[in-house]
Amino acid sequence: MVATIARSASPANKDALEDRLNVYRKLKRIRLFEERLAVLFQEGKVYGTAHPCVGQEATAVGALIDLRKEDYVAGTHRSHGHCIAKGADLGRMMMELLGREDGYCGGKGGSMHIAALDLNMLGCNGIVAGGIPHVAGAAMAAQLRGEDRVGIGFLGDGAANQGLLYETLNLAAIWKIPLIVVCENNQYALSARYHETQATPDIATKAAGFGMPSEVVDGMDVDAVRAAVGKAIARARRGDGPSFIECKTYRFLGHSLRNDRPKRAPEEIASWKARDPVAKNRALLADDHGLGSAAVDAIDAEESKAIEVAVKVAEAAADPTRDKLLAGIYCDDPYEQTPPPRSAADEKRQISYAQALNEALMAEMERDSSIIVFGEDVGEGGGVFGVTTGLQAKYGAARCRDTPISEQAITGLGVGLALGGARPVVEIQFMDIMTLAVDQLVNQAAKIRYMLGGKPTVPMVLRSPLGAGIRLAAQHSQSLEAWYMHVPGLTVVMPSTPYDAKGLLTSAIRSPNPIIFLEHKQLYFLSGPVPAEHYTLPIGKADVKREGKDVTVVATGAMVRKALQVARKLGREGISMEVVDPVTLSPLDIDTIIASVRKTGRLVVAHEACRFGGPGGEIVAAVVEHAFKDLKAPPQRVGAPFTPVPYNQALELAYIPDEEQIAAAVQATLR
């Protein structure tokens, strides 16, 4: 019937009709999908929660209908419509919502994390505004490769109160990232009304503060959204940078299928429903294009059938088997290994820890043009501790960039660059300041691979100095490595020697996983043997720094050097100490530690982090579990007292575990 009418129309009308048909089908498909989902939820087949976008279909379709497949999209928690508008397969979406193995994310993500990576839909996100730096980073990675891809990031009015958004807008503006932020202002952040959460009548006005063009459009009008986003896409493709589009829209249903809040006046709902984009486009097709009501009913039936097929396929599909629980956390793909030319013991050349890191960065940037180094003051300044000295001069300001002071956005952009195929090496100036980026590290970088079904990789290195000893007081001196050891998906590396620092940073850059690379600031200017050649060292492998037979001392970071000094001193008194450096804290090479304790029968763990809740607890617990019968004495832990780091020199020195404490702990195991 459709074809009959199209044939009778003039060519121009025919194009317009086909275009309108395409628009309508997508709007209707989203509407039907969400309505069917509500039924599945009521039937107990979809669990947890899901956030329907009924009423908001025009923003998804208008923003994405002219996007190319290679362009990137990041969604929100209310993103089924965005996936469908990007062309996602209904069956795989429905399977994901039912938690099936063949769903888009293997049943690991569910409604809030559906991604269609084959379509460059980078995923929905349960943390509002959390995906904006990802899509910015992916688009930037493409831009760095000379491609004209763009990224569209969606967010709601609630997310427009997240600092991350504004940090990212600023970064996107100064770096002219081809990003379009589409704000779906549906008037409610869960139950909070728009005017209760923002003082400006339009969110879009805020974009001007970042030097970015913006537009407010009627989000119920698919053509208006399409026109505004189309201009922004063209601008981004030209290389003129990001834009911000605010769409005034409305969700006809409650916040989620589980949560009907807030109570809204029936008149308010009715006034928005009068502008229903699905009904409006139906009328355009049936009346203006002369298709007639029966023809549109036939289209509706086709779309409805497609949804039912998806539901049937999903219901018949298998759940993931139990062995999938631990699959897809880390990427095990091999990367190029370059064995060191000589051991540290055989190397004559001595350089500082900071220089060793610098050599690794220099050589890797030469080897792989997708590596981009960025952070505060890392460019011309070379970083606070000089680790990035000379990188900008050699590789240019595009590949070694100073950033604004925006830890959340820097880290999130790193995640996006990694998703987009680049290799970001991010420097956070002090580990204490990583607290500002914890969402992007813990909820995003660490989990993206797993929650999106074990497919994407996030090859990002985040370097940061930690530790006390240079009188920087409580907010620039902490050792918080145990926090990140507790997060599945993250790798935590903490080298103690220049030799290890160079080899492990090289490995970290080549690794396909997100890696937190911790550098104790007291080590930067200590020297040790380092081959001039380029080499890798294995991540996840402990290193026995000194062999002994009476006591095992497991020491991390700056404590390794102290433990070795104690070993020398006690060695002269006839006590044979073995010093084991885990080097990688997660995944922890507990086997090497247990083997050492089986030999010595005694264990001391020394770290600079607070003793309470520090890495030592995990190490001691694992040894007790596996080698209890080999222990000749209770294990001892050396760590900082449970206090913030003080400024006063005597107090700071009292805070930092010293050689005497390590020696006393060793003696305690021998009594």
């Binding site: 004559k348 000089g386 020398r568």
Partner: protein, 78 residues
């Protein structure tokens, strides 16, 4: 014959450094790879490790003196 330790190469851009501190006094034992001395460079203070184990027999350089890479700095009785 005691072992004569020379100031090792300290990276591409460093040709000389100022002797700043002895970490192991004359007459005391030292292990290979144990920090022996501190030099000042334009990149900051650097601790340099002993390249052999034994007893530190003699410091060959006074504090404050400029030392070139390859200059003898200490005698170690191995």
């Amino acid at each position: 014959m005691p072992h004569v330790m020379k100031l090792p190469p300290l990276g591409q851009t460093i040709e000389e450094a100022k002797m700043a501190e002895w970490l192991v006094p004359e007459g005391k034992p030292v292990d290979k790879d144990e920090p022996l001395l501190v030099v000042e460079t334009d990149k900051g203070n650097l601790e340099v490790n002993a390249d052999a184990g034994g007893t530190v027999k003699r410091h060959l350089v006074k504090i404050g003196v400029m030392v070139k890479i390859g200059d003898a700095v200490a005698e170690i009785e191995t």
